[in-house]
Amino acid sequence: MTTVRISDDALALACGADAVAAAFKGAGCTVERVSSWGMHWLEPLVEIEGKGFGPATPEDVPAILSGTSGKAIGPIADHPFLKGQQRLTFARAGRTRPLSLEDYAATGGWASLTRTRGMAAADVVAEVLQSGLRGRGGAGFPAGIKWQTVANAQAARKFVVCNADEGDSGTFADRMLMEGDPFQLIEGMAIAAHAVGAQLGYIYVRSEYPHAIAKLKAAIALAAEHIAPFALEVRVGAGAYVCGEETSLLNSIEGKRGEVRAKPPLPALEGLFGCPTVVNNVLTLAAVPHILTPGGASLYDSLGVDRSKGTMPIQLAGNIRHGGLYETAFGMTLDRLVNAIGGGTASGRPIKAVQVGGPLGAYIPPSRFHLPFDYEAYAGADALIGHGGIVVFDDSADMGALARFAFQFCAAESCGKCTPCRIGSTRGVELIDRIRGGGKAGPDAVEALPQMHNARKAGRSREEDLHLLEDLCETMQLGSLCALGGFTPYPVRSALKHWPEDFGA
């Protein structure tokens, strides 16, 4: 009987994988549901004896089985999109059944946990430090230093919290990891717990990821005896983007409004319920089992460039022909990622801009596509890598509208704790509307009231409005408590700098 492998990743399901799987079952095949290879334009991707067919529909089944399908892509593992990658965190993607303990153990699962539990906690932290692993959530803080701070803190209770509130548009690596290889995340958290002396862990997942939540809950139940005495719980977010910020995430787990906390105190010292807490992104924790294989830390440290070490699961999204997950060592240029690998736009039109790093990331024009993928190089170019999402826009994009959207999104998602973000975002929307609308000739009805004696009576020129916008951006960037208000100026300023014509110039 033919064995057919089809992904049960949420994206494959959204593209109709269940119907394809049912059609193969109906044709008498054995169907195995595996994780996704990450070649999203080919989903639902069907694998028979290592050979791929996609994107498959139920109607394609007879042709695929008789070997006459025009959707054959040859051996999947040899596909150029996969050949060029260096998969460490996503080594199992496409190859294993997500909830099979057997598959996990057969591919090296639990070996690092067993090894680290035989090591002194300080030695585990030392290996993470040596690897150069930095937080993959966006800030890029060295994971080993965070762990060391928690390990050195004296407290009866400590926690490991996994930030799986992947709200950035253009990112899906956390989701794919949780749905495709949940045991690896669980193992990484158990290793972190051993290294810092934590007893309990939480995985905070956004409510927009129902499939990831279900997989994690099932995986935790299956893995309980492997990670004991460490215990894990899944917490589901409630639609607040700002809860991806670590301190508001902690408040949310505590049952409070997801408002940002002022730092210090650092969560590593006073985090969840006031106890020392490791808060790491899914990809950070999922990289840990690989790093803690014998020699893994040195290998990780040998990859990448400068201070950006190891591999980054880059997500190619938006208007791109070959979208999906591309894990590679740091240092690759945008041009290579977007054009050579991603195949340009899906619409076939020229690329106008790419946004790297989610809604708070800068828009980058093709003239700067030589930038290497590296935390410091991006920071130096007034941009950020964030969580590694790349969203491509074709020449139909209206950058002025996107800059307005950045403020609008910030206004909708601001937690309200600090003024620059709460009020600045709304003023930003109004200001961009005014600039795009050709300015304001004189005072409006309210400003003209005699009580409003401080209001400006004259109109503002475009230059004055742009100056005001720059002032607002500076205030938000320097005065906000967290990255939501602090980084919203990135997309706004970059759009204005590179595409002033889209602001009605």
Partner: protein, 140 residues
């Protein structure tokens, strides 16, 4: 299956503040909202003030003060789906919905390489165009 009662939901959780979000999720799923009466009962059970509970309920987009009995399509309108043309579909979706279906904007379903994307309950839809999206709306 009959709806669980509010006291039955509460009894499943430890009476501590950390239970508040999980409780609200259960209440929202069972009744379609977390209304003032539910807030009061939750506050009593967790020994919190009603203001504290209301503050939390009103903070999160997933909890609503009144139930909306209409079926709901959650349409992603974040940047990646905008890059793939979701904005051009919104008017058609709303026209197909009339007032019978609720078309709700969400930001990101994690299907960013294959948008425009939408969610109905726990069922996801990707690669939507106008025909597929309006058919989806009409099918509810």
């Amino acid at each position: 299956m009959s709806k669980p009662s509010l006291p039955a939901i509460l009894a499943d959780f430890a009476a501590e503040q950390a239970s508040l979000l999980p409780i609200c999720h259960e209440v929202q799923a069972a009744f379609g909202c977390v209304d003032a009466a539910a807030e009061a009962a939750i506050a009593t059970y967790l020994n919190l003030s009603r203001a504290e509970v209301h503050g939390v309920v009103s903070f999160y987009h997933d909890f609503t003060p009144t139930a909306d009995p209409r079926p709901c399509v959650e349409l992603c309108r974040a940047e990646a789906c905008q890059a793939r043309g979701v904005e051009a579909l919104v008017a058609a979706a709303e026209a197909a919905a009339v007032n019978r279906v609720r078309v709700k904007t969400v930001y990101c379903l994690g299907l960013c390489s294959s948008g425009p994307a939408a969610r109905v309950g726990d069922t996801l839809h990707a690669r939507l165009d106008e025909a597929k999206l309006t058919a989806l709306v009409r099918s509810l």
